[in-house]
């Protein structure tokens, strides 16, 4: 949800220079018109105030200025070129989202979600790892918690071992997420600047254009690392004769599907 009281922030790695918006991570430059430059320079102020500036500067009516600013803010955010600092709290936004979702129910679509771009330093492996963990630790813990909560009613019937299994599956799902994005980031070390763009539905590591070979390595590394962890844990489960451990490794091993053309990583790895 985006409201006129929200503020737009130009994230690290995005620079407005000579009337052009430069995305350092993608190595791309976009020309912006004078109205867009006004919005970008006023970053950090509420969108309502920026709309008022546009209204005066370009002699347009208030409703059009407001719509234009909101639309542009959505567009920039969708491209990972601007972050949104919310005016309202999570609860208010959650309720507004629910209200909109109910209104959109007949069209079977969900309200669009905002993205958040976070810096990712790929100059060294440690910095890349730290960047991914910092950006995604909250998401990984949430994923693990949701997996445990979903599995708990089933696990409770099966006794103590099943409860441990539910915990292992949750931890494995969270770890898989971190391992996947870390592998992408490590494959980019010293090859390209990068950033992480996180939305409700999707996490992307964005980077500049790479050679076909490097592109394959970067795309395949993501699914490959958690799948390898999954296989190693499954092998350990055979050695220690603990089937629950092998089942717990399933979310990690499941990332192997990411090597196929079903997923965007797999398609990129194959060069299509």
């Amino acid at each position: 949800m985006l409201v006129p009281e929200d503020r737009l922030e130009v994230p690290t790695g995005v620079v407005l220079r000579d009337g052009k918006l430069e995305d350092v991570a993608r190595g791309a430059t976009v020309a912006v018109n004078p109205a867009a430059a006004v919005v970008l320079r006023a970053g950090g102020r509420p969108l309502r105030e920026i709309a008022r500036d546009l209204e005066v500067a370009f002699a347009i009516d208030a409703a059009r200025a407001r719509d234009d600013v909101l639309r542009f803010a959505w567009q920039l955010n969708g491209l990972g070129l601007a972050n949104v600092r919310h005016h309202h709290g999570r609860l208010w936004r959650g309720l507004q989202w629910l209200r909109l979702a109910l209104r959109l129910l007949p069209s079977a679509t969900l309200p669009p979600s905002l993205t958040r771009r976070l810096p990712l330093d790929t100059t060294t492996s440690w910095r890349a790892l730290a960047g991914v963990v910092r950006a995604l630790v909250g998401r990984a813990l949430l994923l693990a918690a949701v997996a445990v909560v979903v599995l708990m009613p089933v696990a409770a019937v099966g006794g103590a071992r099943s409860l441990v299994l539910a915990g292992a599956l949750g931890a494995s799902a969270g770890l898989a997420l971190i391992a996947h994005e870390t592998a992408h980031a490590l494959a980019l070390v010293r090859a390209s600047p990068a950033a992480i763009v996180v939305s409700w539905r999707r996490i992307s590591v964005i980077h500049a254009e790479l050679t076909p070979r490097r592109r394959t390595v970067v795309a395949a590394a993501g699914p490959l690392l958690p799948a390898t962890f999954g296989l190693a844990i499954a092998a350990l489960a055979v050695v220690v004769r603990l089937p629950e451990l092998a089942v717990g490794a399933a979310p990690l091993a499941g990332h192997a599907v990411g090597l196929t053309v079903i997923t965007s990583d797999g398609r990129r790895a194959c060069g299509i």
Binding site: A227, G230, A237, A250, A256, V257, V261, C270, G271, I272
Partner: protein
């Protein structure tokens, strides 16, 4: 080259998934949860678990390799389909 990449990645994906499934069943057999078990794909052996007095013996058969190769072929075919569809869309745009 693209088809080879797709085949290899598909093979790797299918082998990983089959490997974890095998490990889970083998671990279950070795811990005593499962006794004798024989999984076959038609005439080809996938997994054979045999409990004897000396212990439990688990053997992975050639079907694992076949599953991996099938995964590779499936992925390469899907890639070919996607590539053809994309080039058709590009042709229409022109």
């Amino acid at each position: 080259m693209r088809y080879l990449k797709a085949f290899l990645l598909g093979t790797l994906a299918a082998a990983s998934l089959a490997g974890v499934a095998l490990a889970a069943v083998s671990a279950a057999a070795m811990s005593g949860t499962v006794d004798d078990l024989r999984i076959e794909l038609g005439p080809v052996l996938f997994l054979d678990i045999e409990s004897t007095d000396a212990g439990t013996e688990s053997t992975a058969g050639p079907a694992v390799g076949l599953v991996a190769v099938a995964g590779g072929l499936l992925n390469a075919s899907a890639m070919a389909l996607l590539a053809r569809r994309r080039s058709a869309v590009k042709g229409n745009e022109r």
